[in-house]
């Protein structure tokens, strides 16, 4: 068990190293941060002075080694654009994104799992077909478009929900949460719906497939033969097994959405990390981009670890595998 965890963390370290090289070199190849950051009115000498102050005048591998040295001590450098520590910039924005993605995932699971089970249990019913067709729309419509349509409908035409922003927040310890105020919740609904729609569609389809597969299993037939009530079969035997693929998908989707909620955040002016990432890429603000990618890699690795550990709780057979 602990060997398994240690093994995973070692892998994570290796992935981090590779990613940092890729991002570092990638940004270097795309362009010169100085031409994005420095006012065009500056002269070449003034430009060189800024380049020197950011250490960009040194060879790329020297820059990388310097970065690696400080990164190992937890210092990811200062943002070129704001002069603030890169890590701090990202962590400041993180609560807003976690809140949005968490709410969106909650919404997609609450909607997706019951609908998926219904569609799986009665695949031929008209209602099931409506659900499945709807889910195709759900993940094929572009997020950007869905967001704008929701804004035009609920905010501009009906005027019942706000168009953008995060609304009123409450300070909980060091972080600000908008989920605890009515105004904050109203601001959360549309972006969470936009982000959750694709996720819900995916979960519907996964749940349906799993339900159909498990329904045909011997232990379900046996439980039925034993005369158990269908609600008990559903809750105890079916749901528990359906949860395994759902946890995998929901977990991966959560990580994915957290790292790249950028479109939704841009459409709704949500002050999260995704917007920070895209702005930083566009200004070639390398310290922020590198720190962001590394944090996300670390996060996704840990998330997968948690998913694997959750399997062990739900599915006894996977415990055996780890012990081997």
């Amino acid at each position: 068990m602990s060997a398994f965890v240690i093994n995973r963390l070692l892998q994570a370290f290796f992935v981090l190293l590779v990613m940092s090289v890729l991002v570092f070199v990638g940004i270097y190849l795309v362009g010169d941060p100085i031409s994005m950051l420095v006012s065009p009115e500056a002269t070449d000498l003034e430009r060189d002075a800024v380049r020197e102050s950011f250490g960009l005048d040194r060879p790329i591998f020297v820059q990388y080694i310097t970065f690696l040295g400080s990164a190992l001590q937890g210092d990811f450098g200062r943002s070129f654009l704001t002069g603030e520590p890169a890590l701090q910039l990202i962590l400041e924005r993180m609560p807003a994104t976690v809140e949005l993605v968490g709410f969106a995932m909650f919404f997609s699971v609450v909607i997706g799992v019951p609908l998926g089970i219904i569609a799986g249990l009665r695949p031929e019913a008209t209602f099931s077909k409506v659900i499945m067709t709807g889910s195709i729309f759900g993940f094929s419509l572009p997020t950007f478009w869905v967001g704008m349509v929701l804004i035009m409908l609920f905010a501009v035409q009906l005027g019942i929900l706000p168009t953008s922003g995060r609304g009123e927040t409450v300070q909980v310890g060091p972080i600000e949460l908008s989920i605890l105020t009515l105004d904050g919740l109203r601001h959360l609904i549309l972006p969470a719906l936009t982000l959750g729609l694709t996720k819900a569609s995916l979960i519907i389809r996964v749940t349906r497939a799993a339900t159909r597969e498990i329904q045909a299993m011997d232990y379900i037939k046996f439980a039925r033969a034993k005369g158990l009530s269908s609600s008990r079969i559903l809750r105890v035997h079916l749901l528990k097994n359906v949860l395994i693929p759902i946890i995998t998908v929901a977990g991966l989707e959560f990580g994915q959405a957290l790292a790249f909620a950028v479109v939704t955040e841009t459409v709704f002016s949500w002050p999260g990390m995704g917007k920070l990432l895209i702005d930083s890429i566009l200004t070639l603000d390398r310290p922020v981009v590198v720190a962001y990618v590394l944090i996300m890699v670390l996060f996704l690795v840990l998330l997968n670890l948690v998913i694997d550990l959750l399997y062990m709780v739900i599915d006894p057979s996977s415990r055996e595998k780890v012990r081997d």
Binding site: G31, S39, D44, S164, G165, S269, L282
Partner: protein, 526 residues
């Protein structure tokens, strides 16, 4: 649906106004990007400058058209060609109650060079300043390195901080990080800092002890909304009162709404095409036997005449542009009157000019362009390419995202590229100096001249103008320089972008040439 709601809104608003004409009111502005810092001396960047001009004030300011007018300095005179004495306005206090003195000015100008990690230091505006001293409590003497007529234009960008509030242990006093938190962020301006959540709202409130006319707003909320469609939707929904940069696609919708309107102009940023006039073997040019046709004036003129500027302004830019015949707008100091309006497009004359230059069969060229950096930039480049191709210059467009475009331009990978220049000085000399003066790294001349146009006559005129203190004489020199460069087709101006703002119907805002959104200038109509 929206009609009934707008009716309700209008009558409610009217009712509110009628009941309490001085009721507390918020102004919510949807901005296109947020400041990178609140430190007024950290980064030369428009979003930063407009916020700092709400909290702080410089010695002099620019009006909406770009003309200089007194602000913290009531008057000034020259003690010698390099010594300027500025007399501070009486009775001005900082928002914390301490009076403004000459020491604050000395402190502020002195701090500029000490701010670390800056992506563009404000030394851009102090490079001509040799020394600043307080002659007495209300007089500041600024000494320049040489006779320098543009000092006041530079001072516009240097807001005055409170020495008492902004002093600290670091060399620069209060650090940028501290100022970002609002610590020491004390100015004499119409608003004071309340809070800033990065990526979200920046909140200001009226400075109750402001010396000038009080703004119409108790609170101002500046909310970054990078997606233009979101800004438009928020304005239409009444979530915000004002938005920056109305996208071409939303103009009709906002104009058709009873609760919103658009204000625009004066023309500002110029879009132009620069041509490589240095190398013989210029990249992207073929069919010329290794020669660079752009070095021939007739070819440049042909390319100039082939462009239908009216067509681009009305069709590609949706009317949000004015055709340009010079790099300077007509109201700019020193723009040649002969080039205020560009010569009309004339493809036949253009083809004839090519013939005269020995390129009757045309040639091939690649036009570099950024994509998504300026309004419809790549589409403008595509249109120009089509127009050039029509006269026989087969043009391919290489449009790239801004970071890639700038990298290519700096490596001089284009023989022709579309780019843009924003002039903050209101005087054409700085534009010509950066774009068309002979490239000289050490002298800081021609710093944006990637086409490497070089004309000693132009250099001499610009250098003469830069030290001529007399406004009339300087204007004449600059007009001559502008006319010289434009008659030589040194660069091909296309159009000036016309900035626009979306507003709640009952608000007024005078559109500014510097494109700043200044909350203190937003008023409620009577």
């Amino acid at each position: 649906m929206s009609f009934t709601r707008s009716h309700l809104f209008a009558s409610t608003a009217a009712l509110l106004l009628a009941c309490s004409p001085v009721s507390a009111e918020d102004l919510v502005i949807g901005t296109k990007s947020e400041p990178s810092s609140l430190d007024p001396q950290f980064h030369v960047l428009s979003p930063n400058m407009q916020v700092s001009l709400a909290i702080f004030e410089p010695l002099v300011r620019q009006d909406a058209q770009g003309a200089i007018e007194p602000l913290l300095a009531e008057s000034w005179e020259l003690a010698s060609p390099t010594e300027w004495d500025f007399h501070l306005r009486e009775g001005v206090t900082f928002s914390d109650g301490t009076p403004l003195t000459a020491q604050d000015v000395v402190f502020s100008l002195d701090r500029v060079a000490k701010v670390p990690n800056s992506p563009t230091p404000f030394t851009l505006f102090t490079r001509q300043i040799a020394g600043v001293e307080a002659l007495d409590d209300t007089t500041v003497r600024i000494t320049t390195k040489q006779a320098y007529p543009n000092l006041t234009v530079d001072l516009v960008n240097l807001p005055i901080m409170s020495k008492a509030a902004a002093s600290g242990d670091a060399p620069e006093g209060r650090t940028t990080t501290e100022l970002n938190r609002g610590e020491g962020l004390i100015g004499t301006g119409p608003f004071t800092f309340v809070s800033w959540q990065k990526g979200a709202d920046l909140i200001l409130e009226a400075n109750t002890s402001y010396w000038g006319e009080a703004p119409d707003w108790d609170r101002v909320i500046m909310r970054p909304m990078t997606n233009p469609a979101t800004r438009s939707a928020a304005l239409l929904a009444g979530d915000i009162d004002m938005m920056e940069d109305v996208p071409t696609g939303s103009v009709g919708q906002i104009e058709g709404d009873a609760n919103a309107k658009i204000v625009s102009g004066p023309p500002a940023r110029v879009i132009f095409i620069a041509l490589d006039q240095e190398r013989d073997d210029s990249p992207g040019i073929s069919g010329t036997d290794g020669e660079n046709p752009l070095k021939i004036k007739e070819v440049r003129e042909a390319l100039f005449r082939a462009i239908d500027r009216e067509g681009i302004a009305s069709r590609v830019m949706g009317g949000a542009a004015v055709p340009a015949g010079s790099l300077g707008t007509p109201n700019m100091f020193g723009t040649s009157a002969d080039h205020e309006v560009p010569a009309p497009a004339d493809p036949e004359r253009a083809a004839q000019l090519l013939e005269e230059a020995g390129y009757g069969d045309g040639f091939s060229i690649t036009l570099g362009s950024p994509s998504g950096r300026y309004v419809n930039d790549a589409r403008v480049a595509q249109t120009v390419a089509a127009m050039w191709s029509r006269i026989g210059v087969k043009t391919a467009v290489d449009a790239a995202a801004a970071p890639v475009f700038f990298k290519n331009r700096d490596h001089r990978a284009y023989s022709a590229y579309l780019a843009s220049w924003g002039n903050n000085t209101g005087e054409i000399g700085t534009t010509l100096g950066a774009q068309l003066a002979t490239y000289d790294k050490d002298a800081g001349q021609g710093s944006a001249n990637a086409g490497r146009y070089s004309n000693p006559e132009l250099d001499a005129l610009l250098s003469e103008a830069s030290k001529t203190m007399d406004d009339d004489a300087r204007a004449k020199l600059l007009e001559e320089a502008d006319a010289l460069a434009m008659s030589d087709f040194a660069i091909l101006p296309i159009h000036f972008e016309v900035p626009s703002w979306g507003l709640r119907a009952d608000l007024e805002y005078e559109a500014r040439a510097d494109q700043f959104t200044l909350p203190q200038n937003v008023t409620r109509s009577e």
